[in-house]
């Protein structure tokens, strides 16, 4: 084969490797960029997510603000994703990637549970996530806290977008993690009670939401125990409420808006159809 043929084959192979992504517009997009078009940018969600293990269980939580640049895109978005009945994932990073990755994980874990007739383990979810993310070399911007309770006990893992994973007794992720981790470092104790752990997660989240611009609005918490999983939220902390209502009301009278242009289209009915049934 001539070298140009090899080159063509290789670049085609790179473009349609199969799997989840379609690279067929890649060349076209590069051509459009060459003609002066600007490529769209990804929206990244600044976040505070926190998880803490305690005696026999795990508490995980997240704030609910999604941002696009410096604008709040969603005030009540759900960042605590259910993978199985007793495994949850909290996500920071690119919103679309997180939705898709957690959707894939929950599907695969459910199939696994049906095939084996046993509850899925946290390590399985983690391995699935890290292998998927490592395959895409960090281009899938999903930073996950995966945690839950399985027959081997409570587990908490962090999985970053490039596939690095770590196990923790407590941790925080996202842009608000710096504020949140200070609370965790100060107040975490081994073998806390459920109430202590829940309050710790809530306080850590509140610190993140207070100290970080890209986190706020409200928080969601999930408490996972061997026999029972409780979801709490949305909880709105005091500092996330509007301190004062608006002074004026902004109601517009009907018809008060200026009509800038008026155009009348005239149609002749050539043929009509009976759509009543």
């Amino acid at each position: 084969m001539a070298s140009t043929d090899v080159k063509n084959t290789v670049s085609h192979m790179e473009m349609d490797r199969g799997g989840a992504f379609d690279f067929s517009n890649c060349i076209r997009n590069q051509a459009m960029c060459k003609m002066g078009a600007t490529a769209p940018t990804l929206t990244s969600t600044g976040t505070t997510i926190v998880a803490v293990s305690y005696k026999g269980g795990l508490v995980m939580g997240a704030d609910s603000r999604a941002t696009a640049g410096n604008i709040v895109a969603d005030k009540h978005c759900e960042k605590v994703h259910k993978l199985t009945e007793s495994i949850y994932a909290c996500g920071a990073g690119t919103a679309a990637d997180l939705d898709q990755v957690t959707k894939m994980l929950s599907g695969n874990l459910r199939l696994l549970e049906l095939n084996t007739g046993r509850k899925a383990r946290v390590i399985t979810a983690l391995r699935q996530a890290k292998q998927h993310l490592f395959n895409y070399r960090g281009y899938i911007g999903a930073y996950l806290l995966i945690g839950g309770v399985d027959p081997t006990g409570p587990h908490l893992y962090m999985c970053s977008a490039n596939g690095t994973t770590m196990a923790f007794p407590f941790t925080a992720q996202g842009s608000g993690s710096y504020a949140a981790i200070t609370i965790l470092e100060r107040d975490f104790k081994v073998d806390m009670t459920k109430e202590e752990a829940e309050s710790l997660v809530q306080r850590a989240l509140e610190a993140g939401m207070h100290g970080d611009n890209a986190s706020g609005n409200s928080l969601n918490v999930v408490i996972i125990e061997p026999n029972e999983t409780v979801f709490k939220g949305p909880i709105v902390p005091e500092f996330c409420k509007r301190p004062e209502p608006n002074d004026l009301s902004y109601k517009f009278q009907p018809g008060a808006t200026k009509v800038l242009k008026n155009k009348v289209y005239k149609y002749d009915i050539v043929e009509s159809m009976d759509i009543s049934h």
Partner: protein
Amino acid sequence: MACFNGITASADATNQMHSFKQAMREVSAKPDWLSARHIERQRWNPYSMEGGSTCAISGDNFAIVASDTRMTANDINILTRDAEKIQVLNDSIILTTSGFYGDVLQLTKVLQSRLHKYRFDYRADMSVDLCAELLSRNLYYRRFFPYYTGAILAGIDEHGKGAVFSYDPIGCIERLGYSASGAAEPMIIPFLDCQIGHVTLDEGYEKPALTMERAISLMKDSFRGAAEREISTGDKIHLVIAEAGKPIVQKFLPLRED
């Protein structure tokens, strides 16, 4: 939402299609991923942006200036919740500045010292019109290494009327009825255009007069609205009210802190 921008419809569609096909051929022959990677170099950048928003409204015999008090690093990290972005320069001049806080402080210092010298030389306070021109010249003096600020100068002029002057970073000056600058400027300006400028209101509908009470309420509401949706605006409203023949009043009002 996310889409390609920048390709404008040309009258000669065939010509455009031709050049697009040419671009396709060039790109297929040498795609980005087969060429050497660009080395991204970190350029020295003396500027930063500390977020926050400021706004000013003028009326027949008053001028109102407001800003939030949050200071932010990299759009995310809160540096302080008590940053003051409004300076009362004398009994009739108020300066409010957003942008790079280092330049905000320096610009304030420069203006204060010039006003001090003026008072020493002429035994009188400078008028707001004069100060507006002075600020414009000070900004343009740094044409090629600008103060990275969006300044608004407000006050009561020599005829006892409210005045608002708006600037770009290199000293382009405009006298307006109302103005905003900073991170939430794109949210506040359309609101004030609607409520004070009445740009969307049809003829024959009642236009509410801009009393001082109404202006203050609109000012508060615009910051309450901005704090809901703009992440670097929040914590407190710093409200400064100048009314002709009365001393300047300053107030702080709470905003959401998340």
